[in-house]
Symmetry: C2
Subunit: 314 residues, 2 copies
């Protein structure tokens, strides 16, 4: 905290299973970061407000009146405040204009970023909470106004940006379907828990799915039949299933977004760690270029929205 | 057991969660039937042989030397004897020629019907154990040589018959995917256990899926978003998800088997109970005619195979 720039904002990225906080300077630089497993599903014995005050107590003490902004599932029905959705198409302007303020103490006002929704009145509405802020962060970082983003996860998202606004998005339950099938269905019976490294089962599963026109409800059964025939090793079974499902997601996005075009710009992968590697590999197998998003996309987005809303006074 | 015809065969339909036995006369008529929950997953403290002897002890005593035939998951890796598969295309001739005999006692020989497989060397092999016998039973009952059959269940099957032989089949994990998503995924959180009667959620789900070109990994998320918007009642959520999944299965089969053709003959539904009603309704919504299979299809098929194999001596 010895930056020449002044301390300007606390950003909370508060999801289902984790809580991350960033202390940002007046240029959007990260001065300090911390994280914990105190996502909204954890026990909050003094409520969300209690967890918040304890988690960043030293920052609140050191910088009285510092603005605080929060995004993620903390604004959902099971979170602190259930905020409405901003419809797509929309971007930083709409998000900054719809911040939901809550006074935690007389000296501390917290601003919640609304999630976004799509096709609210149609038969298949879609929603996000938190990803919109990460996308704004990606755009703020390199100034670009168009692009396609994939955000791997339990419920992975594909987000299309036009003219610097989120134009369309799609949620795929890829990660959760993988987890419940592996843990609770017959497909898991012949699988061994894989070690740390990705096995060849993943690439095989992606390729099989990219080459198949069969319904997914049918194709996944091959994760069992191949194992019964001793044609899929037990330690590769989970990766094979993961490959089938991520392959399905990419196959669908490829069709929806016209990614067969060789001139299509690369997709930006927002995330980190092993899952991002899987998507990068699978996109490559599908002939789709991929580039990584900036680190701290959530913090970058929170800063950009806070500045747009006039909260950054430094 | 006062039939004019002689007692000719015991047929065992031994699946994962149930055991059914039929005592048949020399014309294939059912003299007696019994069933229990002693499927292969149940505890068999005297082994499968012990369960078998106890379950039909009175029949074995009353008709010494009576032939016994068994089909179903009892021939799988976790069953009594793991039999090989008969490849498609194949029918009653191949099944009768490949019965696997096991002597339970010196006076009792049990004949296991092999399951069938398809594309064993390809990337998506398919397998069945038990359904082949039911199909043979359906054909035996009305003498027909061609048709398309749907067999609803945990792993539902579609079976195409040509020239009285099983020509092609497809397994869909529809029932199991429904169960694991409802019980273990976030989709179940906003659902209430439905009462006995089918709710309007089912028809709505089928129609939504038939009208959608979206990947199933994406479409199922609407079972959550519609509920969050209070546009899907909690007691209709499970039926809606069931409708989406059965709709997907029918959409896929419709494409694979050219059922868009108005001249396509009706599909035969093999099964009974609530699940059969769902498929009948869903097929109707997709513009596909449906007729019920004969009752006791498994017993009819066991009798036909036993007779073809020369086991019926009466």
């Amino acid at each position: 905290m010895t930056s020449g720039k002044s301390v300007a904002l606390i950003g909370l990225d508060w999801g289902t299973t984790s809580l991350r906080a960033h202390l940002l300077d007046s240029a959007g630089g990260v001065l300090e970061r911390r994280s914990s497993a105190e996502g909204i599903l954890a026990e909050h014995k003094d409520g969300f407000a209690g967890t918040f005050r304890r988690f960043v107590a030293d920052w609140l003490d050191a910088f009285p009146g510092i603005p605080v902004i929060a995004s993620g599932m903390i604004t959902s029905r099971n979170g602190w405040v259930e905020t409405p959705y901003v419809p797509v198409p929309g971007g930083i302007g709409e998000l900054a204009a719809s911040l939901v303020p809550v006074d935690v103490t007389s000296a501390c006002r917290l601003h919640f970023v609304c999630g976004m929704d799509q096709d609210a009145a149609a038969e298949a509405p879609d929603i996000m909470r938190g990803e919109e802020t990460q996308i704004v962060g990606c755009l703020a970082e390199d100034g670009r106004r168009d692009g396609l983003f994939v955000m791997p996860g339990t419920h992975s998202k594909w987000v299309s940006v036009r003219d610097a606004r989120l134009d369309r998005f799609d949620t795929y339950m890829t990660g959760e379907v993988y987890a419940v099938l592996k843990t609770h269905s017959i497909l898991g019976r012949l699988m061994e828990e894989p070690g740390g490294a990705l096995t060849g089962g993943f690439e095989r599963g992606v390729k099989a799915r990219l080459d198949s026109g069969a319904s997914l409800l049918r194709h996944i059964f091959s994760a069992r039949t191949l194992a019964l025939y001793d044609r899929l090793k037990p330690e590769q079974g989970a990766d094979y299933l993961s490959g089938l499902l991520i392959g399905e997601e990419i196959l669908s996005a490829k069709r929806d977004y016209g990614l067969d075009d060789a001139a299509a710009p690369p997709v930006t992968i927002v995330g980190s760690g092993a899952l991002t590697e899987r998507y990068s590999l699978a996109l490559g197998l599908a002939g789709i270029g991929a580039v990584p998003a900036p680190e701290d996309a959530a913090a970058l987005g929170q800063f950009a929205i806070a500045r747009e809303a006039g909260l950054i006074t430094a």
